[in-house]
């Protein structure tokens, strides 16, 4: 699939000099004829929104449309359109903006968040939305079987008035506003209260009721879910008439359906680009999203305990080559674990560590690893030997892991590649934390808080990384709501990672969307763009 297309590559390299916000600026600038925008997306600013039209996008499997439950990506995708959160991410900066709440204040001690709710919000069945719905939803999340849990810091929820809700925390927690707009969608108390959420098929699979810009019209098992515009949506009726989520499990078939006009929007992999590019009526579009890919090294394993060794593991990799070969350029080499999609928190002064095998060897030598017989690195008579695990079935990931293996072999390491089917990989390696090295990624909420991921003892800290200063910085950053202070702390955090990397971050992938040439969608990852579907439109 990866045939040489120099022209396209150059175009892309040019494109990547334009950052997301740069893109918006250049798109807005008149006569940006050679910009990214005109090559890929068409001159957005010149086109008038048209009312009406249907948007069809694929899902992989049948969804369960209860906002309380965690039911796979196909369910969250649709829930983002059917339901609303207290907040939602800004369609450019991803910072929290009002949604069901029109404003919020944090108490001096950071322990009480008061959300003032909009008063004109109605459920799709016409009943008014009130503070009781919020209280009930957040409380039920904490206890219901199979529920998508809220932030651990939430201690109690108090309905102060019909349209005021106060969330009491056990400790200050700055990401609260962001999380309220990422997964914590509010469900209707009057329909769900007293039910066993997971088994309430009538609601979950037939007639879900939300507050979002689209409401349920038809649910055909194994086929599609159709949503129709909600004329009473609290921000005014959406542009589109309807949204159809079609179950199309195979990505090749998704691409075919884009080309036949049976789908209007789909995420594609770099290897599908050739099939879509130049197809009449379609355009390609890229967006940054909050994701970092990495190779994790198990720090409990003495092999990787020394930070110099982990640094060497980064210098040893030509990460740009992985981005070019595997992602066909659709990504940027990572500096650390905070994605540039989080513009305000990303430290733009840092440069990714270069590909430098000599430097890697020098660091390994400092740590005691010297080339022995046959060039194999060894220390105290033991060879540098480990297994790199990756999940099976995604060609890009297997390919990337193979390339990494080659770079480490060249350095004189004895690396075995292990591929496992996802369920096995996830349970035996990732969640069991039993691996030497592992190719993985984290897609996180649009908040830079990573205490759970890289703080000592954090529930998602599967490498067992521990750095006292990182802990201190991350904790303060999680607890202070002063934006400027948070920015400084996260910049500091990223600097610390440059010297003591928790793992070898590889790249920040771009989200590649193929879509109807007339469709206009916010230029952020689709997870966040889907919270703004009232603003999606076709041009005239």
């Amino acid at each position: 699939m990866t045939t040489g297309r120099t022209d396209e590559r150059e175009e892309r390299m040019h494109a990547y000099e334009v950052t997301r916000r740069g893109f918006l600026r250049s798109a807005a600038a008149a006569g940006a004829a050679t910009s990214f925008a005109s090559l890929w997306a068409g001159p957005v600013e010149a086109q008038q929104p048209r009312r009406g039209g249907t948007l069809r996008m694929p899902i992989n499997a049948d969804p369960v449309l209860n906002p309380i439950l965690t039911m796979g990506i196909q369910s969250t995708t649709i829930c983002k359109v059917l339901y609303s959160g207290l907040t939602r991410p800004d369609p450019v900066t991803l910072e929290p903006r009002p949604d069901l709440a029109k404003s919020w204040q944090v108490s001096q001690d950071g322990l009480a968040w008061t959300f003032t709710l909009r008063e004109n919000v109605k459920w799709h069945d016409g009943k008014p939305f009130t503070a009781e719905d919020v209280k009930w939803t957040l409380e039920t999340r904490a206890t219901a079987k199979g529920a998508w849990r809220g932030p651990r810091a939430v201690k109690a929820v108090e309905s102060v008035g019909p349209h005021v809700v106060r969330i009491h925390l056990s400790q200050p927690f700055a990401p609260l506003a962001v999380l309220m707009g990422f997964t914590q969608y509010i469900g209707p108390k009057h329909l769900l209260d007293g039910k066993e959420q997971a088994e309430f098929v009538e609601f979950n699979k037939k007639n879900p009721i939300g507050t979002g810009p689209f409401k349920i019209k038809e649910f055909v098992t194994g086929q599609h879910v159709t949503l129709a515009a909600n004329p009473d949506y609290f921000l005014g009726p959406p542009y589109l008439d309807s949204f159809v989520f079609k179950v199309v499990p195979d990505v090749n078939v998704q691409v075919a359906q884009l080309k036949t006009g049976e789908l209007d929007f789909a995420l594609i992999e770099p290897q599908n680009i050739a099939a879509v590019k130049g197809a009449p009526g379609l355009k390609l579009d890229v967006a940054d999203y909050v994701n970092h890919y990495y190779i994790a090294f198990q720090i409990k394993n003495p092999l990787f305990a020394d930070p110099r060794v982990r640094l060497a593991m980064i210098y040893a990799l030509d990460r740009q080559a992985i981005v070019d070969k595997v992602l066909l350029g659709y990504g940027t080499v990572a500096t650390g674990t905070i994605s540039p999609a989080l513009g305000w928190a990303y430290n733009p002064n840092l440069k990714p560590l270069p590909f430098d095998p000599q430097k890697a060897l020098a660091l390994l030598a400092e740590a005691g690893w010297k080339p022995g017989s046959g060039g194999v690195l060894s220390k105290d008579g033991k060879p540098f030997k480990f297994t790199l695990s990756v999940d099976k079935g995604n060609p890009a990931r297997e390919q990337a892991a193979t390339i990494a293996q080659q770079f480490y072999k060249k350095l004189g390491m004895d690396v075995t590649l292990e591929t496992m089917e996802w369920a096995t990989f996830a349970s035996k390696r990732w969640l069991a934390r039993e691996y030497d090295a592992m190719y993985m990624w984290w897609i996180t909420s649009p908040d830079p808080d990573q205490l759970d991921y890289y703080g000592t003892g954090g529930p998602n800290n599967h490498t067992h990384y521990s750095n006292a200063e990182v802990d201190k910085v991350l904790l303060e950053a999680q607890q202070t709501t002063d934006r400027e202070r948070r920015r400084q702390l996260y910049h500091r955090y990223q600097e610390l990672q440059m010297g003591d990397p928790p793992l070898a971050t590889l790249y920040y992938p771009k989200e590649i969307r193929a879509m109807n040439a007339k469709l206009v969608v916010p230029q952020v990852g689709y997870r966040d763009a889907l919270t703004h579907t009232e603003a999606w439109y076709y041009t005239a």
């Binding site: 499997a61 088994e199 979950n204 194994g222 159709t226 075919a256 359906q257 036949t260 369920a423």
Partner: protein, 315 residues
């Protein structure tokens, strides 16, 4: 014969029990757990509670006996992933699978048997050679690849057919729309079953045509066509029936790939989802239903034997 059928049913129940035991054993020994437990945000306490809610904390034999105890009363439990009743989930997939498998079977029989007859009566002829080679190719083509090729040809290039799904959203229920969606998956499904029926018919008929009674009939001056269709073909059908009996369960449950490629909402795709999600009750339920299909299909085949060849009796 009714005695024999009753005997078969008792036998079938035993088979179902053994199949369910083996399936359960395989599931329990397969690595990886239910996908709903593979969530990095679940704390060990959450996980323990979830396992308890789902009954996964109990010893395997207890879990199995509970399942059998409920299954006897027709309760196949609830899906771990979708939380719905397994019987209900399978039930709503049956129509789609029946339509697709039925279309595949009809195409297989309507084309496969006549083609086999033509090839057998003119062995070595152009028709025979083309048919034989085509059958070889058909059996060798991977269904997944063939499906994608058909989609590119008929949906993307020629724009004649919808690429996938069972109905166009909004047109659900119209027969014309269903037929248009049915063409490609049926072709892919028949690509593996049709060659087998053709080749078996051909081989069996050639064999029969060499037998003494055919030669005798020819010698007595009977009409060739009459000998072929009345006597030879009928005598050749036993092995063909056998292969059809084996193909039916594969058409019903083996359409995993076809159903995935064409986003067909049948049991094949449900079983793929169940396997990837390690949805134990759903896997058990589908296996049970498929075992019933195999058993019924075998029984029908045996009954068909007695119709085709009165010398055969159900014992």
């Amino acid at each position: 014969m009714w005695r024999a059928i009753l005997h078969r049913i008792l036998h079938a129940l035993l088979v179902l029990l053994v199949v369910s035991l083996i399936t359960f054993g395989l599931i329990m020994t397969a690595p990886g757990g239910p996908s709903i437990l593979l969530d990095p945000d679940l704390t060990p306490a959450d996980l323990a509670r979830l396992r308890q809610d789902l009954g996964l904390d109990q010893p395997a034999p207890v879990q199995y006996l509970k399942w059998v105890g409920n299954a006897v009363y027709g309760d196949l439990g609830r899906s771990l992933v979708q939380k719905r009743k397994v019987a209900e989930m399978i039930g709503e997939r049956v129509p789609a699978t029946t339509v697709l498998a039925g279309a595949g079977l009809v195409l297989t029989l309507l084309v496969g048997i006549p083609l086999g007859v033509v090839a057998a009566t003119r062995p070595g002829s152009l028709v025979d050679r083309v048919a034989t080679i085509a059958c070889g190719v058909g059996m060798a083509i991977p269904g997944f690849w063939f499906g994608i090729m058909l989609i590119i040809l008929f949906a993307v290039w020629l724009r004649l057919l919808p690429s996938a799904g069972m109905y166009t959203p909004g047109l659900s229920g119209t027969p014309a729309d269903l037929l248009r969606h049915l063409v490609m998956p049926t072709l892919v499904l028949a690509t593996f079953s049709l060659p087998q029926v053709t080749l078996f018919t051909r081989a069996s008929l050639i064999e029969t045509l060499r037998q003494d009674f055919v030669r005798t009939a020819l010698a007595t001056g009977l009409d060739r066509r009459r000998i072929l269709y009345r006597h030879a073909l009928r005598n050749s059908l036993i092995p063909v029936l056998t292969i059809i009996g084996l193909l039916v369960p594969r058409l019903v449950g083996g359409a995993v790939i076809t159903e995935t490629v064409f986003a067909w909402p049948g049991m094949g795709r449900l079983s793929a989802d169940a396997a990837f999600g390690r949805d134990y009750p759903l896997i058990m339920g589908i296996t049970l239903v498929m075992s019933v299909v195999v058993i019924v299909s075998n029984l029908l085949t045996d009954i068909a034997y007695t119709v085709v060849d009165p010398r055969i009796r159900l014992e």
